[in-house]
């Protein structure tokens, strides 16, 4: 049994797992250091002293680079990665399946189909500010549709996943249709979006995304008590006082929305939602709050690192972060597949 600390005041009472909290602290340190490194690297390399000076004077050229170009991009990457990591963790908990993730159950392809369809209809020009709305709507609609299709007097996780695969294929075909029928310029920008990129982020998008994430987290907090019980079998969880079907439906909706929001502003990043929760589980075995927080932090780190590589490795090219997420995630994922699918 891990060591526990207790916090007790009249309005609030909680047990803290010392091991989990320690590792969350470590992960936070990693996140902060990745942020600092990303801030100082790029076409213009800043020393720590120069970085500090730039931070103090936002109107100088270096200050502009740091506060208006790099920081919003880094924060956007962190938010997108964190939201995807959390979404994947929630899905893996309630689906009881280590391979469940927003990409595989079709939420990502729903958002993609909606967004690419939107681009194809309007051309990659006017009205792009509504693209995220289309993507979120697509993600939520897909999640609802999959849930409805899998419902046969209750929903079992595996049927949900299989319906997700079927829906994924259909939506992928529709996306491809839209791509082939639209002009090549639209196709190119759609492909960059499909790969996932945080290029050209500014504070406006960051604020909107942060607001959405905060709202969703508020919905999650009251559910959080039951989420760690979801991996138990249905009968046992019911016995412990969880309304299993309701929890599954709510968490699925929440995870889909979370992924949809992240994808809407960052593009269809693959693998973050799959890999981040697994790494979190490796770091902290005990299911619970600290594992969820770790999934968020690891997801953020993954996308921030990928974006750092994408914009520094092939200067002057600025490659989409999604490529590097796949490159980091894929080898890990293959090992996982051979180890866990037994």
């Amino acid at each position: 049994m891990a060591e526990r600390d207790l916090t007790r005041t009249p309005g609030f009472s909680r047990q803290w797992c010392r091991e989990g909290s320690g590792r969350v602290g470590l992960a936070l340190l990693v996140v902060v250091s990745v942020v600092l490194v990303s801030l100082s690297l790029g076409k213009v390399v800043l020393t720590p002293a120069a970085l500090w000076a730039a931070w103090g004077a936002p109107s100088t050229p270096a200050g502009m680079i740091v506060t208006e170009l790099r920081l919003p991009r880094i924060v956007l990457a962190a938010l997108v990665g964190g939201a995807l990591g959390l979404s994947g963790w929630l899905l893996q908990q309630v689906m009881r399946n280590p391979l469940a993730s927003p990409d595989i159950i079709g939420v990502t392809s729903g958002a993609s189909a909606a967004a690419v369809g939107y681009m194809a209809l309007l051309g990659a020009g006017s009205g792009m500010q509504w693209l995220p709305v289309a993507a979120v709507a697509g993600a939520i609609a897909t999640a609802l549709g999959i849930y409805r299709l899998a419902w046969q007097g209750g929903v079992t996780p595996i049927r949900l996943v299989l319906m997700g695969i079927g829906a994924s294929a259909t939506l992928g075909a529709l996306t491809m249709l839209a791509l082939v029928l639209s002009p090549l310029t639209t196709t190119l920008s759609a492909y960059v979006w499909l790969t996932g990129s945080v290029y050209g982020a500014h504070w406006g998008t960051v604020r909107t995304l942060a607001g959405c994430c905060a709202l969703l987290l508020m919905v999650l907090v009251p559910l959080m008590r039951h989420v760690p019980l979801a991996p138990l079998n249905d009968a046992l969880a019911t016995g412990l006082g969880v309304r299993v079907q309701r929890l599954r439906a709510m968490v699925l909706a929440l995870a889909a929305t979370l992924a949809g929001v992240a994808i809407a502003w960052g593009g269809a990043f693959a693998f973050v939602g799959l890999v981040a929760p697994h790494l979190a589980r490796l770091v902290c075995r005990r299911p619970g709050l600290s594992q969820g927080v770790l999934a968020v932090l690891i997801g953020s780190t993954l996308v921030m690192l990928a974006d750092l590589l994408g914009r520094t490795l092939f200067l002057p090219l600025d490659l989409p972060a999604g490529i590097f997420v796949a490159a980091i995630g894929a080898p890990f994922f293959l090992g996982l597949l051979l180890r866990e699918v037994r």
Binding site: M95, R96, N97, L99, D103, I104, L149, A150, Q152, T156, P157, I158, R159, V161, L162, M163, I165, G166, A167, S168, A169, T170, G172, A173, L174, M176, L177, L179, V180, L181, L184, T187, L188, Y191, V192, L194, T195, N233, D234, A270, F271, L274, L319, P320, G322, I323, A326, A327, A330, F333, L334, L337, L338, V341, R342
Partner: protein, 329 residues
């Protein structure tokens, strides 16, 4: 046997339809005339011989390959949901091909085609490794999930290659969406050779496959070399899926749906069943192509999109009917 003959008749009818249909419809007599007499001044005959005949042949062979590959995989993995599309073999072939096209654009088609076989082999080995490990305890659904993950892996790699090399996009979009149009006959002839050899190689193995379908232990008991047979089947799947991807790109769901329909209509004897798969797969792809190139003129719906739009709802129905295993994850 009568049903097999009916399928053959249906195939021939759709073959003829595929030669007639398109932006301009030709009558049956024009088609017959064009095929029999090759006069260089006859424009209609030229159109038929240089565009319609190649795409019809590609659809024919690719459809047969995919359906038979699906049937062989379903017997091999003892999993009714196995198919080259769903388990990632097609995606693997596609990825290696896309990679070669972007890294060596001048290398020519034979290298790219070789890449398709290599990619199919890579993905098939991966799936096989997972399947072998899964047999002890995991349900058949886990294999499908693993396949979906392998597909996602290769697809995201292909997308990444395309974003890096945007010039290649135009060349490659055709394979990504799946299409049987515009392949010069000389280019695909070697692939067709490989495909036909693989298709006919299924015939002598069919008897052993029947025994294998009854169970590995039984097969071993009556003296079938199970390991050797399984290896041969994997090789067949690689050849079939690889050549169909190299010819026609990413075509989804033919390999999954056709064996199921054939199982409803034909006796479960691999000698007849696989033949039925080949006939019906070819018919399905020919008809999908005819629809794809006639409904939204002057554009075309890529054939891979057509088959996914037909096949995915069928897949969902299939899973719903099976009940999907209660609580087993």
């Amino acid at each position: 046997m009568t049903r097999l003959v009916m399928m053959l008749v249906l195939l021939l009818a759709s073959l003829w339809l595929s030669l007639m249909a398109g932006a301009v419809w030709y009558g049956p007599s024009t088609v017959g005339h064009a095929l029999l007499s090759a006069s260089p001044t006859d424009v209609q005959g030229l159109v038929i011989r240089t565009t319609r005949v190649p795409r019809t042949l590609v659809a024919l062979v690719a459809g047969a390959c995919l359906a038979v590959a699906g049937g062989v995989m379903q017997t091999l993995t003892r999993n009714p949901l196995a198919s080259p599309g769903l388990l990632g073999v097609n995606a693997g072939a596609l990825f290696v091909m896309v990679m070669l096209v972007s890294l060596w654009p001048g290398a020519g088609v034979s290298l790219w085609y070789g890449g398709a076989f290599a990619g199919a082999a890579l993905a098939a080995l991966l799936v096989w490794a997972v399947a072998m490990r899964g047999q002890a305890s995991g349900g058949p659904l886990k294999l499908v999930l693993a396949g979906a993950a392998i597909t996602a892996l290769f697809t995201s790699f292909s997308q990444a290659m395309l974003v890096i090399d945007q010039q290649g996009l135009d060349t490659v979009l055709f394979w990504l969406a799946g299409s049987v149009a515009g392949r010069p006959l000389a280019e695909v002839t070697p692939l067709m050779g490989v495909a036909l050899v693989a298709l006919f190689a299924c015939r002598p193995l069919a008897r052993s496959m029947n025994v294998l379908a009854a169970g590995e232990a039984i097969a071993r008991g009556v003296g079938v070399g199970v390991a050797r047979l399984q290896l041969l089947m994997v090789v067949l799947v690689i050849l079939l899926a690889g050549s169909s991807v190299a010819m026609a790109g990413n075509i989804a769901f033919v390999g999954l749906i056709v064996p199921h329909i054939a199982r409803r209509l034909l006796p479960v004897d691999h000698r007849i069943w696989l033949a039925g798969c080949a006939l019906m797969g070819a018919t399905l792809l020919l008809l999908a192509d005819v629809i794809g190139r006639t409904v939204i003129l002057p554009r075309e719906i890529p054939i891979g999109v057509m088959t996914a739009l037909i096949g995915a709802p069928l897949f969902i129905t299939l899973v719903r009917r099976q009940g999907g295993g209660h609580g087993r994850a």
